[in-house]
Symmetry: C2
Subunit: 474 residues, 2 copies
C-alpha cells in the first residue's frame, strides 16, 4: 500500500509492477505464474467483459461453455496446433485417485474440443452459421510471468464459429477484429493498429491471423486481441462437414477470436502515470469518489449528509460514484489511495464548501482542480468524465502518431526504434528468413502487415511487395 512507485523513466517494467500492486489490481500467487485478481482489478475486468459481451450478442453470438480438459490426442490431430502449444501445456495425469488411461490437457485454447463438438452439431447447411462465444480460464505454462501480460492461467473469451464458405468465415473474422478495435478505442481509450500477421506470427493451425496492436508508453507494442480465419484446417481435423443446398457434402470453414485479461495490462501501460493507474471512465469500477473533510462532530454530520445526497444524485444519473467514509483514514491517505487506483474524478467536500454550495473536483488525468457548484453537479460530472475519456484517447492517438515512422534503411530503422520507439514501417521481402534476421538484429518483430505497396526490402534490398509495421513488443 505504502509502496513507492518507481518512475516510468527510470524503469518501466518496475513501474508497471509497482502500479499494478499499489493500485490493488492483482498480485502474484504461490502457484508460479498464476495471479490473484483483486476486487478492483476484477471489477475493471467485469466492465470490459460487459462491453464486449454486449457487442458479441448484438452481432448474433451466444455464449456456451465447453470442458476445461481436453484429451491429449485431440491436440495431435492438427499438426501445427499441437506443435505450437505442446511446450506450454499443463497435463493432468491422475483423477479420482487413479492414473488416467489418457492424459488430459488443461485447455490452452479450445479449438480442438469445440471442433469435436461442432462435428456432431453440424449436419446440414441449415445448421450454419454457428456463432458461439465462451468466457473461460485457460492455461499456458509461462516461465517468465508478468501480471496480466503473461500469466500461466488467464481469463479470456474465445469465439468459435462455423460457416458454409470462405467468404462468410473471412467476413466474421474481420467483423470481430473490428469489434475488438472499437472496444479498445471507445471503451479503453486505446487506439490500435489492425491488420494481418505474418505467417511466422500466425496462430498455430490458422489460415490467417488478424490482430489489434497498441503502443504502450515505453514504445513497445502490445498485441491486445486476435481474430483467426482457421480455414478448413480444424474442420478437416475434426470432420466438420455439412450437406450443402446442392446436396453435396462439404467441409465447413471455422474462425476463432479472443481477448484476455491482458487488456487490463494494456490499460495500465497506455494511461498510467508516476502516481499510479489512470482509468478510462467508461470502464472504471468507480468513476467518481467523494472524500468528506471535517474536524468537529457537527461538521461531520453536515458534511456526510450533503455527501450522501450528492452520491445519490450522481448514482441516479448512472454514474458509478462512491463515498469514502472510512473513519480510520484521514483525507490525505484517501486521496493517495484513489489516485493509485486510477479513479477518474475525486470530489472533496468540507464545511467551507457546504457554505458556498460548492465541491472541489480533481481530475486524475491532468490533476486539474476546480470548484463546482452543487447545482448541475451531475451534468458537470458527466461532462468531465466524457472529457477525460476523450482526452486519454487523444493523448494516446497523438503518441501513436508520433511513434509511427517509416524507415528506408536499417540505420534509420534502428535509430527510429531507439527514438521515438513505437512502430517502424518498412518494406520487407516477405521471407521468414528476413523477418527472423531483423528480429535477431533489432528485437523488433512484424506486428501487422501493411497494404501492398511495392518497394525494396529494408534489410536485403530485394524487391518487396508490401510494407510491415515492426516493433519491439510484449
Amino acid at each position: 500500500m505504502s509502496l513507492k512507485i518507481t518512475p516510468r523513466s527510470e524503469d518501466f517494467p518496475r513501474w508497471y509492477q509497482d502500479v499494478v500492486q499499489s493500485g490493488q489490481l492483482a498480485e502474484n500467487s504461490p502457484v508460479r505464474g498464476c495471479m490473484v485478481i483483486k476486487p478492483h482489478g476484477y471489477a475493471l475486468w467485469e466492465n470490459v467483459q460487459a462491453a464486449l459481451d454486449r457487442r458479441f450478442k448484438e452481432t448474433g453470438h451466444e455464449n456456451a461453455y465447453f470442458p476445461l480438459f481436453i484429451p491429449k490426442s485431440f491436440l495431435d490431430r492438427e499438426a501445427e496446433h499441437v506443435e505450437g502449444f505442446a511446450p506450454e501445456l499443463a497435463i493432468v495425469t491422475h483423477g479420482g485417485g487413479k492414473e488416467l488411461e489418457e492424459p488430459l490437457v488443461v485447455r490452452p485454447t479450445s479449438e480442438t474440443i469445440i471442433g469435436h463438438t461442432y462435428s456432431k452439431w453440424v449436419q446440414s447447411h441449415r445448421d450454419l452459421p454457428i456463432l458461439i462465444n465462451q468466457w473461460a480460464n485457460v492455461v499456458r505454462w509461462e516461465l517468465r510471468p508478468r501480471l496480466f501480460l503473461r500469466t500461466s492461467e488467464f481469463l479470456w473469451q474465445e469465439g468459435h464459429t462455423v460457416h458454409a464458405n470462405e467468404a462468410e468465415a473471412e467476413a466474421e473474422t474481420l467483423q470481430m477484429l473490428d469489434i475488438y478495435a472499437e472496444i479498445a478505442r471507445d471503451w479503453l481509450a486505446i487506439p490500435v493498429r489492425t491488420g494481418l500477421k505474418s505467417k511466422l506470427e500466425t496462430f498455430p493451425g490458422a489460415l490467417r491471423t488478424y490482430c489489434i496492436e497498441a503502443l504502450m508508453q515505453d514504445g513497445k507494442a502490445l498485441q491486445m486481441g486476435t481474430s483467426h480465419n482457421l480455414g478448413q484446417n480444424f474442420a478437416k481435423a475434426f470432420d466438420i462437414q455439412f450437406q450443402d443446398v446442392d446436396g453435396a457434402r462439404k467441409l465447413a470453414w471455422t474462425t476463432s477470436w479472443g481477448v484476455s485479461t491482458r487488456l487490463i495490462g494494456g490499460i495500465v501501460m497506455a494511461h498510467g502515470d508516476d502516481k499510479g493507474i489512470v482509468l478510462p471512465p467508461r470502464v472504471a469500477p468507480v468513476q467518481v469518489v467523494l472524500v468528506p473533510i471535517f474536524r468537529k462532530d457537527e461538521e461531520k454530520i453536515a458534511v456526510l449528509a450533503e455527501a450522501n445526497r450528492i452520491i445519490d444524485e450522481l448514482k441516479e444519473r448512472g454514474i458509478r460514484a462512491k463515498l469514502d467514509d472510512r473513519e480510520q483514514l484521514k483525507p490525505g491517505p484517501k486521496f493517495f489511495e484513489w489516485e493509485k487506483k486510477g479513479v477518474p474524478l475525486r470530489l472533496e467536500l468540507g464545511p467551507r464548501d457546504l457554505a458556498d454550495r460548492k465541491v472541489v473536483a480533481v481530475r486524475r488525468d491532468t490533476g486539474e482542480k476546480e470548484a463546482l457548484t452543487f447545482d448541475g453537479l451531475a451534468d458537470s460530472m458527466v461532462e468531465r468524465l466524457d472529457a477525460i475519456q476523450a482526452g486519454l484517447l487523444q493523448r494516446a492517438e497523438e503518441s501513436m502518431a508520433a511513434r509511427t515512422n517509416e524507415a528506408s534503411s536499417m540505420e534509420e530503422f534502428e535509430a527510429l526504434l531507439k527514438e521515438p520507439g513505437g512502430f517502424v514501417l518498412a518494406h520487407w521481402d516477405g521471407t521468414e528468413e528476413t523477418e527472423l534476421a531483423i528480429k535477431e538484429k533489432t528485437k523488433a518483430t512484424i506486428r501487422v502487415l501493411d497494404d501492398e505497396v511495392p518497394g525494396t526490402c529494408v534489410l536485403t534490398g530485394k524487391p518487396a511487395t508490401r510494407r510491415a509495421y515492426f516493433a519491439r513488443s510484449y
Copy 2:
C-alpha cells in the same frame, strides 16, 4: 432433437436425461464427467448468475479471482478438508514440458488457496470484514456423472469471507443461506427447506454447514446450496490473524458459501413435464416466443410486419421476446421445439389473427390457449408471465407440503418414503451410528436438522433432543 421423451412415471432419471438433451440445455463431452453447456442452458445460467450477483453486491460483497491450481501441500494443512476431497482430485503433474516439483491440484473448492492469500491481506481489525465472491469452474472427479447434477467439472460461485468474531461469521453464514433460499423461491420458483446439516454431512473442515434443500418431482431431495461457518479451522491452518482493537493478536473467523450449475438441474426436475422443460419466466432466456403462420407470400409480408411490431413492443416493455422467423421450419415443429425448451409463453400469429387484431397465446405450464387483443398486449404478457411464475411456485409449494410428513415409527418412516416420498420428519437420537443405520435401511439421509423438540428416536427408541428431515436425495 426428434428424441422421444420418456414419461416421468415410467423412468424419472431417463426422463431427466431426455428433457435436458431435447431441451438443448447440455450434453456429455468426450471427457468423462465433463459437460458441454449449450447456448440455451448457458443463457439460463447467466440469468441465475445475474440474480445472485446482484444480491451479493447489494450485501457488500465484491468479486475477485483466485488461481485454478492449488499446491497439493495446501490441502494437507486442514486434516478433515484433505480427507474429504482427496478421492475426488484431478492432479496436474506436468507443466511446460517438465514434471513439476510439487503436484498441483485443480481446485475442488478454494478455501485453502484463498485462506493462504487472506493471511497476507489481514493484519488489523481495520482490514475486516473481507467479503469476496468468486465465479469459477471447479473439478471434483465424478465416477457416475449426470448432467448438471454431478459433473467432474462444474461452474459455481464460492463466497469467502473473514470476520473478527464468531457472531459476525455466523450472521454472514445465515445471511447467505437466506439469499440462496430467496433466489430459489423468487427466481427459480422452487421452495426450499433450510437448516443445519448433521455432523456427518458437514463440509470437510467446517464448524457448521447450513443448506437449502428442495424436493424434486420424484420425491427425492436436491441440495441446492450450502453455507458454511468455517469457525477458526482454516484461519488456524493458514494463519489468518489480526490485531484487534484491544491490541491482542487473534485468529479470524471465516465462512464460505456456494451454489453451482446444479441449480439448472433443480429447475428441470422441479418444473418439467412430459413434453419437456418448463422454465420460470424470471430466469427464462426467452420469455415469449412468437411463431408466425402464413401460406402465401402476401400473407407472409403482412404477418411478419405485425410480428416484428409486436416483438418490438414487448422488448420495449423489458420482456425477453423472440420472433421465430426461420424459413426452413413449419409452425408445428417450431411449437414442439419451444415447448421442449420450456419457453413460458408462445404466441401464434396468422392472417386471420391480423384481421381480428388478436394473437393466440399458449401457456407452457398449463397448456391454456387464449386469444388476446393487440391493444394492451404487453400488459397481458407481463400479467401472464407473473401468473406462470406464481403458479409454478404454488404448485411446488403444495407438492412439498404434501410430501413432508412426520413418522413416529420405522414402519411409518418407510411407508412415507415410498408414498408420497419427500421429507420424513422424525426424531433422531443424535448419533452418527443411528444416522448411518437409517441410511442403510432406507437409503434416506438427514437433509436438515429440525429445531430442538424432545422425543423418542424413530430407530433406537432412545431419548432424542431434536427431529430431523430425512429424504432420499440426489
